[in-house]
């Protein structure tokens, strides 16, 4: 243990205090609400009825099963593809890495509604372009793929979420000490065996963290189950929350909160398991001082094979739905692609979007709020992770679990808690951009927390100790030694949070006010009024814009990776 002067403890206490304030108060409010029978601000009394209704019915078991199958299935799909692409770009000599990297970003930056509908237009048994191709061109008897199934749900959500695992696993791969692999090969292990015993086992913290994040997102999402599961009558847990909010007037937030406690339990158990599994942290220190030259694996002619595989995956999973969206953006209404369509091409949709004042206002708001939130989330995560990994402070694991809980609640539940909180607390953030920053930092710090934690584990503590012995203060050590070495993971988390502020809907819809609209609010406005073509144009513009930011971020982060070029 390293004992230090007051400066460090003060900084850490302030940051931890902020985390506790941001997370604990909404959490307590939500839990308090689950025991009340009326919305906040009205005369309500204590009741256990919400829990009775939420969990007293046996159908909940079927719902829970569907939810877990969906969430875990989609997580495995995302993880599989994302990691494969990450390994290709970070550890092999596969060509066209920049292209792969850029394409892996797409599914993330396009609004979820658009990709989901794009998949309907691709894989619907009746009108799906892919199915039509099989039936009309290849002579199949019936449409081979039915999107409206659990498999369809898993595919759509899975492929839409490859970006997070791609980023985080890439960061982890970049920080792997190849001498550990070399030791494996030298002692006679086959390539596969080395991969399993050395690479894989050492990356367990990151793998676990990524899977946890993916599963939690899967349990929480409602868009995909609504569009693809409902027609097949597959219901998931999030459907019940939706019901609670629509079936009753006024919407039953307390019931929704009671349902959310299921998520809370899953997320907390997940984090607790993760922390237990990674408590022997010394095992995972892959960045020591002994040298650290992430080696590129020469694949020889096989690299063209891997490239083709990557491009195939990206084409089917990412490019196709994007093409559908792009198509919809340049025609007045969606139609099957044909030669006649060329004469109907128009840029009107783009003109409408670009002529809208709110588009620019919301874009500026989004960029500002996004950058501030992402940076705050990264800083808080760095502080909490450092305390959890490097100190022996009592209760630090509990701190980590609590800091993770906002991730578990659906955006609308947290949004309402925050709405009420800042309407009643004498802190003048309601109606300003600050309440949005607070909301995003609260909800998304868990992501940067997990990526930071896993990254810190990879850092051998002696690197920091050497700095301290040499006379540097803790603060200087953190800035000059720790931060640069965890930068790849930190940047990945930072960018992910930034992109989420462009994507998340329930929070800004509730917390935006006059002049503080965020982009998703504008997007959803288009969606609700049936302006699907304009929506598609907006989606294309978003992809273009965010891709530029992402490439800039990558160039920034790569300055910090010590790779043999």
């Amino acid at each position: 243990m390293i004992r230090f002067a007051i400066g460090r403890n003060l900084v850490l206490s302030v940051l931890l205090g902020i985390v506790v304030y941001l997370t604990l108060i909404p959490l307590i409010m939500i839990l308090y609400g689950t025991f009340r029978d009326g919305p906040p601000g009205t005369a309500a009394s204590f009741t256990l009825a919400n829990y009775a209704r939420a969990y007293g019915d046996l159908t909940i078991l079927q719902l829970g099963l569907n939810t877990m199958v969906f969430a875990v299935g989609a997580a495995l799909v995302s993880f599989g593809f994302g990691s494969f692409l990450a390994w290709l770009t970070e550890r092999t000599d596969t060509p066209l890495k920049g292209t792969i990297y850029g394409l892996a970003l797409f599914p993330f930056v396009i609004p979820g509604i658009l990709t989901t509908i794009a998949w309907v237009l691709l894989l619907s048994p009746k009108i799906g372009l892919i199915n039509r191709f099989f039936v009309e061109e290849l002579g199949f008897a019936g449409a081979p793929i039915n999107l409206y199934s659990m498999g369809g749900m898993i595919w759509v959500f899975g492929i839409d979420n490859i970006t997070l695992p791609f980023f985080l696993m890439a960061a982890a791969f970049r920080s792997m000490d190849p001498s550990l692999e070399e030791a494996g090969r030298a002692s006679g292990m086959s390539a596969l065996s080395t991969f399993w015993h050395v690479n894989f086992k050492l990356m367990i913290p990151t793998i676990f963290a990524v899977l946890l994040l993916l599963v939690v997102r899967g349990i929480e999402t409602f868009e995909v189950p609504a569009v693809i599961g409902l027609p097949a009558e597959i219901k998931v847990y999030a459907s019940e929350i939706f019901l609670a909010l629509r079936m009753y007037q006024p919407p039953d937030y307390n019931l929704a909160g009671a349902y959310s406690t299921f998520y809370l339990v899953v997320a907390s158990v997940g984090v607790a398991l993760y922390l237990k599994a990674t408590s022997a942290s010394e095992r995972y220190a892959t960045i020591t001082g002994k040298g650290y030259r992430p080696r590129i694996q020469n694949l020889g002619p096989w690299r063209y094979f891997t490239l083709s595989l990557a491009l195939l995956i990206l084409f089917i999973g990412v490019i196709l739905p994007f093409l559908v969206v792009a198509l919809t953006s340049v025609v007045p209404i969606y139609q099957r692609p044909s030669w006649e369509l060329v004469s109907a091409l128009t840029l009107d949709n783009y003109r409408v979007v670009l002529g809208l004042d709110q588009f620019y206002q919301s874009l500026v708001n989004n960029v500002i709020v996004g950058i501030v939130s992402a940076t705050a989330a990264a800083l808080l995560a760095a502080a909490v992770s450092w305390v959890v990994v490097r100190t022996k402070l009592r209760g630090r694991k509990l701190l980590d679990i609590i800091a993770f809980t906002p991730m578990a609640f659906p955006g609308i539940v947290i949004g309402l808690a925050l709405l009420w909180m800042y309407l009643t607390l004498p802190i003048p953030v309601y109606g300003t951009l600050w309440i949005l920053v607070i909301a995003y930092v609260t909800k998304y710090t868990p992501i940067t927390l997990r990526s930071c934690h896993a990254a810190l584990l990879q850092l051998h503590p002696e690197l920091e100790e050497a700095s301290v012995i040499s006379g540097s203060s803790w603060f200087r050590t953190f800035v000059r030694v720790v931060l640069p070495l965890i930068m790849p993971s930190l940047t990945a988390g930072w960018f992910y949070v930034l992109a989420l502020t462009f994507k998340a809907l329930s929070l800004p819809v509730l917390l935006s006010h006059l002049g503080t609209e965020m982009l998703p609010v504008v997007i959803y406005g288009f969606y609700e009024s049936g302006r699907f073509s304009e929506l598609s144009a907006l989606g294309v513009l978003l992809v273009a814009g965010l891709s530029v930011i992402a490439l800039a971020t990558r160039m920034f982060a790569s300055q910090f990776s010590v790779q043999e070029r």
């Binding site: 569009v227 139609q335 309407l423």
Partner: protein, 339 residues
Amino acid sequence: MGLSSKLAKVLPLIGVVAVCFHSAARGDESLIAGAKKEGQLVWYTTTTQTDNKPILDGFVKKYPFIKAQSMRAGAPELVEKFLFERRAGKYIADVIRVLDFDVERFKRESLVARYQSPSADKFNPSMKDPQGYWTTDDYTIKVMGYNTKLVSERDAPKSWFDLLDPKWQGRAMFEILDYRLYAGWEQRLGVEQATKLAEGLARQKVVLRRGASQIAELLAAGEAPMAQAYVHHLEVLKAKGAPVEWIRTFDPLVALRGAVTISANAPHPNAARLFVDYYLSKEAQQIVRTWGKVPAHPEIEPFHKALQSKDLKIQFLDPKLTGQNYAQYAAMAKKVFYR
């Protein structure tokens, strides 16, 4: 009778009219004077940004001393935000535009003020709250649409009960938890018939989808031959060349009225009234017309010709009843549109 006696009859009339105009002008004047001092207007609305910009522009052109802003959100979020704000004692909104039964909820908590705008004098009584708390700006109708490439006009069903024909099983798209549709059935056909219809449709395994606009787009793309959609979505698609049409003969055609109301304790009450007057005036209703729904002003014809027909069996939902019986409607809707 002589000229003088005719004159004697007309003069008082002129006098009365002159007095009326004078007092109206005086009322208008005091509103404007008050609004000048307030200098601001905050409008909460469910209409889209592209739609409400010309309204705000027109209003500011007429009263350049008022800084007018709008906040747009979907109905559920807008209602909750307004309610939360008021319960916390924050007065921000002046004018709110939602649906009529949302305003009923506000009425129950005494959150809105009575205002019968002179602009709505000529409006049909069905476009106004009998108690004076809200006025409709426009309304849309829930209709049964079909894809003309998949269903001919001859084969299309002519009434709700035709949908119970086995040939339509699994071939019609509906919005999940569409309690308003059910409410319309019950308020028009009575509980017995409505229940029969609902239970019959439940057996027909209608395809459930989320998002009304999505349904219209998918209908146009041919995902299903029939769909329950909003008429203005379908008309817009039709105008762009989509192969969709809707059935005129269904009884009832459930209509949803938009409603504009003024917040009680509005921070800028004079500006609020001026705005409502403007919003319901012929000038603004011309703009509302372009949104594709049916404007409330009797002298403004709807944009889409098909909506001009007087034969449509339109059923407006009774907002009070809808609020009172919400739980029952939702329970029935769950049976058919959620299962």
